[in-house]
Symmetry: C2
C-alpha cells in the first residue's frame, strides 16, 4: 500500500523524511552509507551502498515510484542513465547539475536574469588577479564541486593566496565579497506539473560557514525585498524546472539588494523550522512534490520560529542532557540525529515558536548549549 | 546513543511513537503481531511475537530502559514477573490492571471518590435484574475484559437480554445508561517522579461505539466542569500511580455533572490531535513520561483542532485518494496507518487546526470521506 520513494543518502535529511513518510504511508527506501547511521537507524528499508555505485542505484529504484536525494553527490552520468531507463529522477539531472557545479549554477542564473554577486570562472592566478582587481579585494574563492558547510570556500586578499586551488588545470569560481545586512534563504517546493508553494523568506546566521540559527520569517527584511526574494526563487525554480524542495540562499545587501548566493535541491537546514512552525513541513512537502501530489499549505502558525543547530558536543551522548534541557525548556522541540559526536558536527537542532522573538532566540540558543554540553 | 524504549504492540499507536522517538534519538523496539503491520513497516527493530509470550517479552526487554504498551493485553502475571526481574514496566502492573478489568477499574475509582455512573458487578440474570430495576432500564452491560471500540459493550432493555454474557460463571459489569450532553476525554501524562501535565478536555463523538470525531478543546463545556474534569483525571492518575499517558473518557451529563466512563493507559485516539495542535504530542509525551524525563508543554497553538477518523474505505488503497484530498484540503494533516482495508477498520485520521470550528469540522469530515472512498 502507498507509493515507494527511493532516496539517496543516509544522513539527517533522509532521517527526517521518515516521519511524514510514515504519516502518509509512503514507503521510504534509503541508500545509506552505513546501516547504523542517522537514516539507517529509523528507516527499515535502508540498503547500504555508495551514491556513485550504478548497481546500488539500480537496486534502489527497483519498484520505486520516484528517485530523490538528500545530497548532490550522484554523478551526472548515472543520473542520465537512470533517466534514460525511464526512472522518475526528481529533481532531474539538468536541474541538479546546478547544485553540483557552482560555475554551472552561476551561468544558469545569469542567463535567467537572476541577480548574483559579480563572478567569474578562473583558470589561473592571472585570471584570478584580473577578477579581484575588477571586483575589489578581498574576494570569495569557491571550489565549483563538492563544497558544503563552509568547506571549499575561502576569502582571499590576493591572487597568490588562491594559487593552490588552481593547480593541475583546476578551475575555481571567484565571487565578489558582498557586504550584507543579513543572509536569507527562500524555500519552495515545485511539482513536475508546475505547482509551486513558497515559504516566507527566513534569516540565516552562519558561523564559520555553518548555519547556526534560522529565524522565520526574516525579521529585518522590508516587504518589497521579501517579495523580490520570493520572485527570484520562483523564477529560478521555473528556469531550471526543479522538482522537490529548492532552497535559495541569498544576501540582503547593505545597499538594499537581494543577490543569490547558493542553491540546494533537497530539504535544507534553513527549512527545519517548518517541522513545527508551518502547516506542511519541508520534508512532507518534498515527498509530495517528488510524487507529483498536490502541495500542502505553508502558513506559519506562530508569529516567529527560531531554529538553532547543535554543533558538536562535550557530551559523548547528547541525549544525556535531556533531563536538564527538558526541565528548563519544556516548550523546546529537540531533534537529535543519532550521529556520533565530532567537533563542530551537525548533531541536531532545536526549534521554538512563539511571539517574543528575543526570548525565543535566547532560549533556543540556551537549549542548544545544554545539548552541546555547555552550561551548568 | 539514546535510551531504548520497548513497546508491546504493532498497531498505529506504536507506529505513531516512531516519529518522536526518531526526533529524540530514542531507540524504539516494538513487539509486533506481524512484521509488515502498521508498526513493523516503519520501525526497524520490530521483533514478531505475541503479547502473552513470556519468552518474547523477555527478549523484548533485554537491554531496554523501559517497557511500555500500546494496548492492555499483556497478562498481569507476566507483568508481575517482569517487575520482579527489575524491569521498569510503565505503566506498572497495578495501574494497568485498571485498564485490563473494568470491574476492578470501577472499584478503584469508587474507592478514590471519583464520580462514576451507577455500576455493579453482576454474576447472574437475577443480579442483573436487580441492578436494572435500581438504576432504571435500559442499562449498559460490559464484558470486564478485552472489549474495545464498542466491542464487549451492549445496551440492554431487560435482564434476559444479557443472559448470554452470564453463562459458565462469567461476570459482567452493569452500568447506568447515562444521559449525556457530550462525551469528553481528558488526557494527561505522569512521570514516575510524579510530574503531571494535562491537556485541556476534548469532546469526542462515537458512532457505533467507535470514535469518529474529536474537537479540542471541548466546545460546549462550562469552565467549572472543564476544571472538574481535569481534577478528576489528575486524581485518578495519582490514585493509581500511572506512568505514561492516561486517557480518561467521561460523560458530560445533561444534568451538568462529569462522570468517568473508561480509562486507557497509553496514547489514545482522543489525543491524536496533539500531533499537530499542541507543543508536545501525546506520543512524544508518552516516551518522555515512561523514561521519567521532564514533560513537555501541552499548550494548544490554534484556537481549535478537529480530528476525524478514517473508518474503512471503498478504496483498496486509500493513498490513491491523495490527489483529490490534497488538492481540495491543502491544510489537512492526513495520517494513514498502512493497514489493510476492512469494513469500519480504523485506517487513519485527519487533523485540521484553525479558528472557524464549523468550517474545520466540515472540511475534516470531507477529507476523511475522500479517504474512505466516498465523494466525487
Amino acid at each position: 500500500m502507498g507509493p515507494v520513494v527511493a532516496v539517496v543518502g543516509g544522513g539527517q535529511l533522509a532521517r527526517m523524511l521518515a516521519a511524514p513518510a510514515a504519516a502518509l504511508t509512503i514507503n521510504l527506501r534509503a541508500l545509506v552509507e552505513a546501516g547504523d547511521g542517522a537514516a539507517g537507524q529509523v528507516i527499515p528499508d535502508a540498503p547500504v551502498g555508495a551514491a556513485n555505485d550504478a548497481a546500488a542505484l539500480n537496486q534502489l529504484v527497483a519498484g520505486a515510484d520516484v528517485l530523490t536525494f538528500e545530497h548532490e553527490h550522484v554523478p551526472g552520468e548515472l543520473l542520465a542513465a537512470l533517466e534514460a531507463d525511464g526512472v522518475a529522477v526528481r529533481p532531474g539531472r539538468t536541474a541538479l547539475a546546478n547544485a553540483q557545479d557552482k560555475v554551472h549554477m552561476r551561468r544558469t542564473l545569469t542567463n535567467a536574469g537572476v541577480p548574483c554577486p559579480q563572478w567569474a570562472q578562473v583558470r589561473s592566478v592571472g585570471e584570478l588577479a584580473d577578477f579581484g582587481d575588477r571586483a575589489g579585494w578581498p574576494i570569495v574563492l569557491k571550489k565549483p564541486v563538492g563544497g558544503y558547510d563552509g568547506k571549499g570556500v575561502r576569502v582571499i586578499n590576493s591572487a597568490a593566496e588562491g594559487g593552490d586551488w588552481l593547480t593541475d588545470g583546476q578551475v575555481a569560481l571567484a565571487e565578489e565579497k558582498v557586504d550584507f545586512a543579513a543572509e536569507l534563504a527562500v524555500l519552495l517546493a515545485r511539482r513536475p506539473s508546475g505547482q509551486i508553494t513558497t515559504w516566507a523568506p527566513v534569516q540565516t546566521t552562519q558561523v564559520d560557514g555553518v548555519c547556526s540559527e534560522v529565524v522565520a520569517p526574516a525579521p529585518d527584511l522590508p516587504e518589497d525585498l521579501a517579495a523580490q526574494a520570493v520572485q527570484i526563487a520562483e523564477r529560478i525554480a521555473g528556469a531550471i524546472q526543479v522538482t522537490g524542495i529548492l532552497a535559495v540562499e541569498m544576501f540582503h545587501t547593505t545597499d538594499g539588494r537581494v543577490l543569490v548566493n547558493e542553491l540546494a535541491m533537497r530539504p535544507h537546514n534553513s527549512g527545519h523550522f517548518s517541522i513545527e512552525a508551518t502547516t506542511t513541513s519541508q520534508f512532507e512537502q518534498h515527498l509530495r512534490a517528488v510524487l507529483d501530489l498536490p502541495l500542502g499549505a505553508v502558513d506559519q502558525q506562530a508569529p516567529w520560529a527560531v531554529m538553532v543547530n547543535v554543533l558538536g558536543s562535550a557530551r559523548t551522548d547528547p541525549t544525556t542532557a535531556y533531563p536538564q534541557v527538558m526541565a528548563a525548556y519544556p516548550e523546546a522541540k529537540v531533534h537529535l540525529y543519532g550521529k556520533e559526536v565530532r567537533p563542530g558536527r551537525k548533531l541536531g537542532h532545536v526549534t521554538l515558536t512563539g511571539t517574543d522573538l528575543g526570548e525565543l532566540r535566547r532560549r533556543a540558543r540556551a537549549a542548544a548549549d545544554l545539548l552541546e554540553g555547555q552550561g551548568p
